[in-house]
Symmetry: C2
Subunit: 212 residues, 2 copies
């Protein structure tokens, strides 16, 4: 008897390939493959489709890995989610773990490390690389991410700021006075320690507030 694994990844070639790898492991076999979180949620409605492990990509269209993991964790907490991503952004890793992922692997791991991770996941209930451990320690040592301190209206402004619009134009679109927009900008600059709009754009793109 082997543990069942579901692969969720929008890059079909990759998911199939990873599925192939997993099928090659002694104690694991692939139950099925999904293209996004939505598809997974649908599938799980049938009890026969509930696996031991979900290998979950983080960046997916329709329903991304974070939402999917979160849903999964609420409804089927016994299913262990192992995140698999090229994403090394601290905040993404944290969000994934908070959503209930039991482990986080970078996509550049070796085949043997994947097998090892799966084994440890079933034995200990979790698996974490050094990178992830470091992120966790950092996050515990106080400092809430400055990103989390941004409010919804501020995020909306930032997305506008990542265009060629002037602040005046942004103010019009957000139905606010240009002076209010300046206020938003100034408080964001201070919170994120930025000097000017260029810095803000780079920050927004780095932290996926705005995706070009």
């Amino acid at each position: 008897m082997s543990y069942s694994v579901v692969v969720v990844d929008d890059h079909i070639l990759l998911s199939q390939a990873i599925g192939g790898l997993v099928d090659g492991f002694d104690k694991f076999s692939v139950l099925y493959i999904c293209k996004n979180g939505q598809e997974l949620v649908e599938k799980l409605k049938n009890p026969k489709n509930i696996p031991d492990i979900v290998l979950m990509d983080v960046n997916m269209p329709i329903m991304n890995g974070i939402e999917a993991t979160s849903t999964l964790y609420k409804e089927y907490p016994q299913v262990k989610v192992l995140a698999l991503s090229i994403e090394e952004d601290e905040n993404v890793i944290l969000k994934m773990l908070r959503a209930g992922a039991k482990g986080y692997l970078m996509k550049d791991v070796k085949k043997t490390e994947l097998e090892n991770a799966l084994l440890e996941l079933m034995e200990k209930g979790y698996y974490h690389t050094n990178t992830v451990a470091k992120v966790l320690v950092d996050s515990l040592s106080g400092k809430e991410s400055s990103l989390d301190s941004l409010k919804e209206r501020e995020l909306e402004f930032i997305r506008h700021a990542c265009t060629e619009k002037t602040y005046k134009e942004i103010a019009d679109e957000m139905f606010l006075s240009p002076k209010t927009i300046e206020g938003y900008r100034n408080s964001i600059f201070e919170k994120l320690n930025l000097r000017n709009r260029t810095g803000l754009v780079i920050y927004a793109i780095k932290h996926k507030i705005f995706i070009p």
Copy 2:
């Protein structure tokens, strides 16, 4: 007897997984796997290591897919390069094809399409999806990419512009007068049809001139 395939990709898990898929195909088998272009070039020095096909990732550290393909095409034109990438940027696709790639696959293809591509590659000598065909047609219909019209010094300026530096500071770092920098900026704005620096930053990131 089966055709030999080399996989070049910096994401080790992916390259091993794709290798596994290829080994599963009837007429193909994996010769070896490389982490980047440099490693491939080294390997090829031994005639025993020259494969029929190279499955080449485009985004790699050290020596990327475009450089690697270009080198390969000069020294071993009989080797067929099939580019494999998540990149859908027109310019990247074009550069890869100009470098001598015989095909370009998005990483979200299905297993069967990969096999089909490999077979067609050996039979016809090339394989192109509809997406790639469209890009090719577009590129032929005149309009050289505005990106290509940017000169080296301009690109250097753009990378500086993607920071929090003022133009004055950029001028200092490039040992030019602030007025010259203004000249650069204005001609770039016109060439790329931009209104302001924010637009330039977004453009630079979209077209991989600057990677955040």
